[in-house]
Each structure stands twice: as C-alpha cells, then as structure tokens.
C-alpha cells in the first residue's frame, strides 16, 4: 500500500490516473458483458457492409 502521508502532488495525480483508468476499463467491460447477455448474437451481428438505409440517417443537428 502506498503511504498516503508521504505522497507529493504528482504521486496523487499518478494514483488518480490509475484509478480513473481502471474505472473506464471496468465500465467498458461490465457494459460489454451486459450487452452480450441482453441481446442475441443474431441482433448484434446483424450489420451488413455498405448498407445505406435512409431511415438510419440521423442528423443530430436537426434532432428534436
């Protein structure tokens, strides 16, 4: 365990970087596992190359 009393500002920054990295990683991992479980593979793998479907064109600038 690091000795918090003796750490300088930069070491706190390093520790924070490690913790935030771990949180991002954990978030992605948990979301991936939950998504894999919530949807069937057929849905997840249903994208096809080069498809241009008009109803899929979303324009965020003009979204209500």
């Amino acid at each position: 365990m690091p000795n918090f009393a003796e750490m300088n500002g930069f070491q706190y920054l390093e520790l924070a970087a490690w913790i935030i990295s771990a949180l991002f990683g954990l978030w992605m991992l948990v979301d991936m596992i939950r998504t894999n479980a919530a949807y069937s593979e057929d849905v997840l793998l249903s994208s096809r190359e080069g498809e241009i479907e008009d109803e899929l064109i979303v324009d965020p600038a003009h979204r209500g």
Binding site: F10, Q11, L13, I20, S21, G25, M32, Y39, G50, D59
Partner: protein, 465 residues
C-alpha cells in the same frame, strides 16, 4: 437516440450510425496526422539536414496527394467501413484485403501507442518542471488509452466532434505561432545563419533517408475512409473531407518547417522531442508557450482518438466478413459502435505503448502505412481496368490517371529504401509477419468466409472475369 433504440428494440438489425458530416471527416483525417507537425517530422532534419527535410516534406506531400486522390475516387464508390480493406476486397481479392486490413490495424494501433507514449512523456516533463522529481509516465499512458477507448465505445458522434474541436485548436496554434514570428516578428528568423553552410550534410543520400520520416508529416490522412458507413453522404463528404484535409496538412507542414528551421540549429532540431513547443520557448512569450503546449497535448489526443476509431473499424469489418472471428463483427445496440473490436484492441495498444521504444513503434507504423500505399497504386489501376469510367458511377473521378498511381508507386519504392537504411531488420521482421499471416489466412482462416456474399457492392461483373 430514439431512432437507435427503436431499431434495436424491434430486435431485428443494428448497424453503425450515419451521423457524420464533412467536418468530422476532416477532423478524423487531420486529427490523426497533425501530431506529426508537433513531433516526429523533425527526425527527417536529423536524417538529412534542414533542406533535405523540406524536400522530403514536399515529396511526401506529393505521395499523399496521390493517396488522397486515389482514395477519394475509390471511397466515393466503395462506401464501407474498413475503407481500403473493403476496397481491396472488391477490386483485388480476399487475401490482399486481409493483408490491407492488418496494415490498417497495425499502422493505427502503433500510432495510437506512439501518441500515448508522447503524452505520458509530456505530463512527466511538466511534472519535472513543476519540481516533482521521479514522476512516472505509465499511469498517464494508460489513462490516455483507456479514456479514448471509452469515448470511442460511447459513440462516434461525440468522439469525432471532440476531435474536431481539439484538432482545430491545435491547427490554430500553429497558425498563431507562424503569424507571431512572421507578421508580428516577436523573434527574428534566420534560416541561412542556422543552417550555417550545411545545406545537405549527408548529400543526396540524406534526402533519400529523410523520406522515412517525411511520411510522418501526413501519415494517417487516408484514415478518412474508415468513416464511410458513418457519414451522412459518403460520396460528397469523403472526397471533400479528405482533400481539404491534405491541403490543411500541406500548409501546416510547410509553416512548421519554416518556423522551426528559422529558430533552431538543425543539429538540435533533428533530435528534438517537441519541436514546435521548443520554437515557442525560443520566442520567450509565455502565452505562445502555453498555446503550443496545449496544441501539442491536443494534437496527441486527437491522433490517438482517431486511431482507435480507425483501427476498430478495420478490425470490425474483417470480423463481419469472418476474415477474423465473427465475434468481432458486433455493433453495440445502443451506442452503435463496434464495441468488441474497440475493447479487444485496448490491451494490444497498451502492450505496444508500455513495452516498446518510441522509434520502433513509429517505424512499424510507417512500414504498415507504406505497404498499404503500395497496394493502393495497384488497386487504382485494377479498379479502372475492371470497371472503366462508364460502367459505374463514381462520386469523384481523379484527373490524370494513371499518373498518380505510378508516381505513388515510385515514391513508395524510394521510401522502402529509406526505411531500409536505418531499420532494415524491422523491415524484414515485418515482412516475415505478413507472409506468415497471409499463409495462415489462405490455408486456414479463409474456410470460414462466405465467397460470393463478401462482394457487397451493387456493381456489374468486372471486366475480364
């Protein structure tokens, strides 16, 4: 998001989201590359002197103008994620497409690693300047990769809008510095004095060798094509974004050369880590120093961000065609991103960023890019032969065919030699890798691929087949 959720809850189909405009395409292309002006291009000065670096800058600019022209024509016709991979698949054949897909993933993932290394170094250096000795760079390398992967995972629109903002700031920083030293004359430029008679210290051999890092001024601009399934009108936005991108880079590269060579001796410039930031330091102006530091940070972030986007698109499209395990071909039903590919490439990037020295990582990235450009020139000639201009409608037709393809091939040949001069062993190791991977694909992996179905474009039968 209502549209996305509605599609997903029908339980039928999910695909990538078409939300991007030409500005995003520009940001994706320039964002990946602009970091090259902030660091890396100056190794060309070390390789052959200041004048050799300028010659290399323009020849590499010519090479990339050819790349951008060819890319624009083919991509405005083959609008599919995976970019050059999908193009090679339709025009040349599966094995080459597999190789191109690997070139893309390797070039971008290595570049991402190089950016993360640089960012970690910058934070560590600033910590040192603030009086904290013995700081580590690793936590910040990891944080960069994890944060950007997360951003990419959450959706392409936010990712590339973020890129648009930080890339624009980084570009404006170069413009401001250029105006400050030329128009406002905050510090005198003295090109002749600083070159001090050593115009070409290595002769013409040095010009050749400088081509190795000359590519670094522009490497990655071809990544614009990866966004093909996510732009609202690919036939218009892709050529527009790519061409404005290469123009931006030509301007930025020439300005960067002019500023740096006018302020620093070539011997120093040739090995500097952050040349533009050093140039700002030499102006003794604190606002310029802060601006160029921010520019360096943003350029690095934008590049790594775009690389994650491009590498995961290429990996995803290969998974979708079963060139790679089909598991990778999944799209997230809510965020509409290739989420499994993004996650899989995180440990790969971490391994390169934490385990290999910067110049090695850069060389591998350059080599993979170089192989890809070589393929492009053949690709272009075969595209016009199999489908002449009157057989399919193109969004953009590039002029003077086949001159760009031939010029591209010649310049690629020169650059192979330049890489060979310093990194012959890596060049060989890389070739062995691609040869083994190709054999593996042809004799093992290809059995899982549907044959006719992978040709998805609505084109007539190619001529001669």
């Amino acid at each position: 998001m209502t549209q996305a959720q509605a599609t997903a809850s029908h339980g039928e189909k999910v695909s990538l989201l078409r939300v991007l405009g030409p500005g995003h395409v520009w940001a994706l292309g320039v964002g990946i590359v602009l970091v090259g002006e902030y660091m890396g291009w100056n190794f060309a000065v070390g390789k052959g002197g200041a004048v050799a670096a300028l010659i290399a800058c323009w020849f590499a600019g010519l090479l990339y103008t050819c790349v951008a022209m060819i890319d624009s024509e083919v991509t405005s016709t083959v609008a599919a994620a995976g970019g050059q991979y999908a193009q090679a698949k339709h025009i040349v054949g599966p094995l080459l497409a597999f190789n191109v897909g690997l070139f893309l993933v390797m070039a971008y993932t290595m570049l991402e690693a190089a950016n993360a290394i640089t960012l970690g170094y910058l934070v560590q250096a600033v910590g040192g300047m603030a009086g904290f000795e013995g700081g580590h760079d690793k936590p910040f390398i990891v944080l960069t990769i994890m944060f950007l992967a997360w951003l990419n995972y959450r959706g392409v629109y936010a990712t590339l809008t973020f890129n648009l903002v930080i890339t624009a700031i980084a570009f404006i920083a170069i413009l401001v510095l250029f105006m400050a030293v030329t128009a406002a004359k905050v510090v005198p430029l003295n090109h002749a004095g600083l070159i001090h008679g050593e115009t070409l210290p290595y002769g013409w051999m040095g010009v050749l060798a400088a081509m190795h890092f000359g590519l670094w001024y522009y490497l990655g601009i071809e990544g614009t094509t990866q966004a093909a399934e996510e732009v609202r009108s690919p036939a218009r936005a892709l050529p527009l974004g790519t061409m404005t991108g290469i123009i931006t880079l030509l301007i930025a590269a020439t300005m960067t050369w002019y500023i740096c060579v006018g302020l620093m001796p070539w011997e120093y410039l040739g090995q500097a880590t952050t040349p533009l930031f050093d140039a700002a330091r030499l102006t003794s102006s604190v606002p310029l120093m802060v601006l160029l530091f921010i520019g360096t940070m943003f350029a690095t972030l934008a590049s790594a961000n775009g690389c994650i986007n491009d590498a995961s698109r290429a990996w995803f499209s290969m998974g979708r065609d079963h060139y790679l395990p089909e598991w990778f071909g999944a799209v997230h039903p809510k965020y509409r991103t290739p989420f499994r590919s993004i996650i899989f490439l995180v440990p790969v990037a971490l391994m390169f960023a934490l385990g290999a020295p910067l110049d090695q990582v850069i060389t591998f990235s350059i080599l993979s890019g170089l192989l890809e450009y070589t393929v492009m020139s053949f690709n272009m000639i075969m595209f016009r032969n199999k489908w002449p201009l009157d057989t399919i409608k193109r969004g953009y037709v590039h002029p003077m065919h086949p001159l760009p393809a031939i010029v591209l091939l010649v310049l690629c040949g020169v650059t192979y030699f330049a890489v060979f001069l310093g990194y012959g062993t890596q060049l060989m190791a890389m070739m062995v890798f691609y040869i083994v991977a190709s054999a593996w694909f042809h004799f093992h992996r290809y059995q899982f691929v549907r044959r006719g179905a992978q040709f998805t474009m609505n084109w007539p039968r190619p001529r001669g087949y």
